[in-house]
């Protein structure tokens, strides 16, 4: 059992180091790509933004409004009338800090994660990666880098939409269910909505987007010569992404608490 555990730990460490290598390469290649290959790479980047960002809006907005409604309804049932500002505060703490980035990236993983791994996997099997190399086009610069940046930016923007939608849904529930006026609702909202909360939300959304896209790209490119490996790569990409975001979420939460604690 110890040997299985050891093997698992080594596999995860190897996987994580490959991910970090992919991310570091993207950072180091970015200036030269902008300088020399901007036009074709930016097309891939915009396509990724359209598919991951724009087309996910119609899922993110209704989910966020529904979530905001549910949260406020549950809180008002717990705290009762008279604690409306507390309800808005709890909404901010749960959505802005945690559920906003987390649920947004879960939607993105479901829509785009498997699709990215599958697309790259089929390109690998059909020899298109080799075609790019023979044309003198770096597959990393042309395929991976724009996907990393596109998904990262999309998750960030979608998270903003999610949080706005959740607050709107929460206000709708408060107003229609408990006749709470906006100025009363917003009192708690603006009290809880500090720069720290927003910074944590931004940081989480960017990191989630980056690691999810890196994990799915890595799995897609790792496909061998058999077509049966493509759905396996898609599945592994999704599972690794889910694993990563919860680990990252925990790490960022602990880190922010340590920073807040040391500041006093």
């Amino acid at each position: 059992m110890l040997s299985h555990l050891g093997r698992w730990v080594i596999e995860q460490a190897l996987f994580f180091s490959q991910l970090l290598h992919l991310i570091v390469m993207s950072v180091t290649h970015l200036p030269s790509v902008i300088r020399t290959h901007l036009r074709p790479v930016s097309r891939v980047f915009l396509r990724q933004i359209y598919f991951t960002g724009f087309e996910s809006v119609k899922v993110v907005i209704p989910v966020s409004i529904a979530l905001g409604t549910v949260i406020i309804a549950q809180i008002m049932t717990l705290v009762g009338v008279g604690n409306e500002s507390l309800a808005a505060k709890v909404l901010v703490w749960t959505v802005i800090r945690e559920l906003g980035p987390l649920l947004t990236v879960l939607i993105v993983i479901a829509r785009s994660g498997a699709a990215i791994a599958t697309e790259l996997g089929f390109m690998k099997i059909n020899g298109e990666i080799e075609v790019l190399e023979i044309l003198g086009i770096s597959p990393f610069d042309y395929l991976i880098l724009p996907r990393l940046l596109g998904v990262m930016l999309s998750v960030f923007v979608l998270t903003v939409y999610f949080e706005i939608g959740a607050v709107f849904g929460g206000f709708l529930a408060a107003y229609l269910g408990w006749h709470i006026p906006y100025d009363q609702f917003s009192q708690g909202l603006y009290t809880a909505l500090t720069a720290n909360e927003l910074l944590v939300s931004v940081g989480k959304s960017l990191l989630f987007g980056l690691f999810v896209s890196a994990a799915c790209c890595q799995q897609g490119l790792a496909v061998g010569r058999s077509a049966t490996m493509v759905p396996q790569a898609a599945s592994k990409g999704v599972m690794h992404s889910l694993f990563l975001i919860f680990i990252l979420d925990g790490l960022i939460t602990v880190l922010t608490q340590v920073v807040v604690f040391t500041r006093g």
Partner: protein, 213 residues
């Protein structure tokens, strides 16, 4: 004349014995192989996708094995390949496939415009439209687009991998005429045809024939 492409005692699992040959600048050569697998192996060696087990490959004066990734990609931008199959990116339209290497390498072209691309597609006889995806093209149409892309890139070295494979007589003559005319447009252009078709040398008058055993 200096050697543009040089194989020096190259050893590979696909060759029966060590392979040594050279193709001079401006020459038109046919590498006659035993089977298509050998062509694919030669393409990988010429473009540095694989390195030989022994010996050396040099193209345009550069020893492939000594080049780092960025220099290798730069060398590949000076070479063109007409693939035997595939060769197009499946999620890009014909027009996008045509211009991809040009835009990526910022290669000089008289007019990088839709009109220039259309003119070259007409030159190779392609009538399918530039907004089609490769999956909807016939094999002949794909070969025409690949030829058009190479013509647009205007490389110093052109490799044709099994250019005539899978085409009827009319299509074979059409493709060969375009390839030979393109070779003659530039005095320093080196063209190498990889083929396992023993009848090809008879169609290529004046070409240097190199047998790969």
């Amino acid at each position: 004349m200096s050697a543009t492409v040089c194989f020096d005692s190259v050893n590979s699992p696909f060759f029966g014995s060590e392979l040594s040959f050279s193709v001079q600048t401006g020459e038109l050569a046919v590498l006659l192989t035993a089977k298509e697998e050998v062509n694919a192996a030669l393409v990988r060696l010429l473009f540095g996708v694989n390195l030989p087990l022994a010996g050396s490959v040099s193209v345009l004066g550069e020893a492939i094995a000594s080049l780092d990734e960025s220099l290798l990609f730069r060398l590949r931008s000076r070479m063109g390949l007409v693939f035997s199959s595939g060769g197009l990116i499946s999620n890009l339209k014909v027009g996008e496939n045509l211009y991809l290497p040009l835009q990526y390498h910022k290669l000089p072209v008289a007019e990088e415009s839709a009109a220039a691309g259309e003119a070259i597609l007409q030159r190779v006889g392609y009538r399918g439209g530039s907004s089609k995806l490769p999956g909807l093209l016939s094999q002949f149409e794909k070969k025409q687009v690949l030829l058009a892309r190479v013509i647009l890139m205007n490389p110093e070295v052109v490799i044709y991998d099994s250019l005539l494979l899978g085409h009827n007589l009319h299509e074979r003559n059409h493709l060969l005429d375009i390839a030979v005319d393109f070779h003659r447009e530039m005095a320093d252009r080196t063209s190498i045809f990889l083929s396992s078709d023993a009848s090809l040398p008879q169609l290529m008058h004046g070409a240097k024939i190199i047998a790969v055993h």
